[in-house]
Amino acid sequence: MSDLLYSEVEEELRASVRSLLSDRVDLSRLESPEPVDLKLWRTLAADLGCAGLPVPESAGGAGASWRETAVVMEELGRFVAPVPFLGSAVLSVAALPSDDPLLRDLATGARTATLAVPLSTSDSPSWTVIAAGTALSGSVTTVADALTADVFLVPTAAGLFAAEAAHVSRTPVVSLDLTRPVADLAFDGTPARLVAPDAAPLVGRALLAGAALLASEQLGIAEWCLATTVEYAKTRRQFARQIGSYQAIKHRLADLWVAATQARAVARYAADCLANDDSDLPVAASLAQAFCSPLAVKAAEECVQLHGGIGFTWEHPAHWYLKRARANAIALGSAARHRALLADLVDLPA
């Protein structure tokens, strides 16, 4: 049976990551020329060993599993931390074959990579880059964690290629979510190394891992939004009462707590299925996105609304959570797309 709890080791990892992020995440940098915090990333990757948690120690990783990776995702969501974790430590690590030389560099945090697909990709993407021998041409839009990546993993009909960022043209996109900005990529005879002759299974596995683990980030976002709003409802007074004493407020927060309780079980199930390569993983991943993605949006929307005027300001951090949650709801397949995938997986045809 799937273990839906957190182990002691996982809780210790959470405590370390939370302590680091609470000291170091600085959202004021998000409008600067360097919104992504590579210094923070290096501490997270090298000092805490989070860049390759599921990679064996012999291959430069931490020898843990995707369950621990999910715990880190929860904390990154809780702080909407601008680090290239999803692209490198999740999508790229999941995509690379275990004997690929790049895996060691990613696992140690020496380099970062990302998967060159639009962030909105859910499954079986259409390849927009063409390989002539080992030279790549074409473009890919709205790629996450692209601005700071050292290497791109590029799926083509002729296989999965690794292209050095120095040879790829990157155009930053004014992103809805500045905590995880996206960029457009152009390849023009770009030299690349063939990673594997068939990209589809590797990319499919990466997207499945991404969908399964993004749920944990969404859980972290929802938990921050709920906790922050509950605290505000206890301190904010109107009509000489704490606003949290009104049922109109407290019932909404109770409903959110109930949904977050479910999201925790759903996200843990997806992480556990991924860690154990469970045959139910496709169901677990789509379930996780179908449930946790709207929940995180709902939590962030409630956070803005129940904060009233201050929640609508740039000054209050609620908007970063709303933007991250809303972009996440598109990332790796919308809830509607995952419900459609579930329809096939559990034999409930349209």
Binding site: M1, I249, L342, V346, L348
Partner: protein, 389 residues
């Protein structure tokens, strides 16, 4: 010797088929194998509650007669823990054995027409008269009252005190003169519940549980145990109500439409999320990490049952216009799966009202789990008799 071994030893000395079922159950009670967490002499062995399921399993495997626990659920789940905690030795000896064997059915006289969510506002009066109390009032939503021998009852003994302070907890003999039970017909046409009219009924003071004026505190034992029993069993995927509509969807392609497909998948996701939440809750309890998550399960269960049963009617279309029956039946347990879709839709409406309305449960989650402040109240520190009614 393990508790399961004790059960096997008992079975070796008692013929499952040959003994009269009631004699068998009495003997099992006397051997301490009824509820092992109870004290020796009262059906138990003073062991952890967690050891009971394996005892039950040994008896079930042997085909032993059981006490029909669903018929006596109120006795087992609510009356017994309250008697154990607050009763005198004599009261425990008198009531617990026939309660457990099922010889005496129990019911609960708490809710009143004027006191539902606000139970502590109840108005049934008990007035002391010599060695007795004389009780007048009306109770409602009483399941099994028409079969019960005993009732647990809360009544107001001092209207001049604030509402929580003037209450006292009694055990009422349902065969006493002045107790009238009428079926309460519900929106499904049947009557699972009753109204109970209490007119000049005499209760001996020896049938009082706990001190005079301590009724609210005693009732907390009863209500806490009610919530413990709403936890839920492990079910497989699609094992709950959702299975009824997924089976229908697969078997009958003609009911399918794009809009209903989306509605079905949304509910499938919610049902599976609720199932995993229950699984996680049980893992927490097994690991000795009880959390507040259990408070969520009844809220979830009520909403899911209501939405799924409503979708089923939409799926059935014209067929949903046909119902099975509106006969005034007196079921002792709900046959949710065996009835027409309309029955499920209507019965599920009760899920968000019975055992605490969803609105009250949200208050409880908000105040006890999230620590939000209470709603401002007009009934604190005011004599019950002076409250607006």
């Amino acid at each position: 010797m393990s508790t399961a071994d004790l059960a096997r030893e008992f079975l070796a000395g008692h013929d499952v088929g040959g003994t009269d079922p009631l004699e068998f159950l009495r003997a099992r009670f006397d051997a301490g194998l009824a509820w092992v967490q109870y004290p020796v002499g009262l059906g138990g062995l003073g062991l952890p509650r967690a050891e009971q399921p394996e005892v039950d399993q040994v008896f079930a495997d042997a085909g032993a007669p059981d006490n029909n626990p669903r018929r006596i659920g109120i006795g087992l789940g609510m009356a017994a823990p309250t008697i154990l905690r607050h009763g005198t030795d004599e009261q425990r000896r008198r009531w617990l054995r026939p309660l457990w064997t099922g010889e005496e059915v129990w019911c609960q006289l708490f809710s009143e027409p004027g006191a539902g969510s606000d139970l502590a506002g109840l108005g049934t009066r008990a007035v002391r008269d010599g060695d007795d109390w004389v009780v007048d009032g009306q109770k409602v939503w009483t399941s099994m009252a028409h079969e019960a021998r005993w009732a647990i009852l809360i009544a107001r003994t001092d209207p001049a005190l604030p509402k929580h302070q003037g209450l006292t907890y009694f055990v009422l003999d349902m065969t006493a003169p002045g107790v009238e039970v009428r079926p309460l017909r519900q929106i499904t046409g049947e009557a699972e519940f009753n109204e109970v009219f209490i007119t000049g009924v005499r209760i001996p003071d020896t049938d009082r549980l706990g001190a005079v004026g301590e009724g609210w505190a005693v009732a907390q034992t009863t209500l806490m145990n009610e919530r413990v029993s709403i936890g839920g069993q492990a079910v497989p995927r699609e094992g709950g109500t959702i299975g009824i509509v997924t089976d229908l969807w697969r078997a009958r392609p003609e009911v399918r439409s794009p809009g209903l497909h989306d509605a079905l998948l949304r509910l499938w996701v919610d049902a599976e999320a609720a199932r995993l939440t229950g699984m996680r809750l049980r893992q927490q309890l097994a690991a000795g990490q009880p959390g507040p998550e259990g408070s969520a399960s009844k809220l979830l269960f009520a909403r899911l049952n209501q939405e799924i049963s409503s979708l089923e009617l939409d799926l059935l279309g014209e067929e949903g216009l046909r119902h099975d029956e509106w006969t005034l039946r007196r079921p002792t347990q709900v046959d949710f799966a065996g009835r027409a879709a309309g029955y499920r839709y209507l019965r599920a409406k009760g899920n968000s009202i019975e055992g605490g309305t969803s609105e009250i449960l949200r208050n409880i989650v908000a105040e006890r789990v999230l620590g939000l402040p209470q709603e401002q109240r007009a009934d604190k520190d005011v004599a019950w008799k002076d409250l607006p009614k």
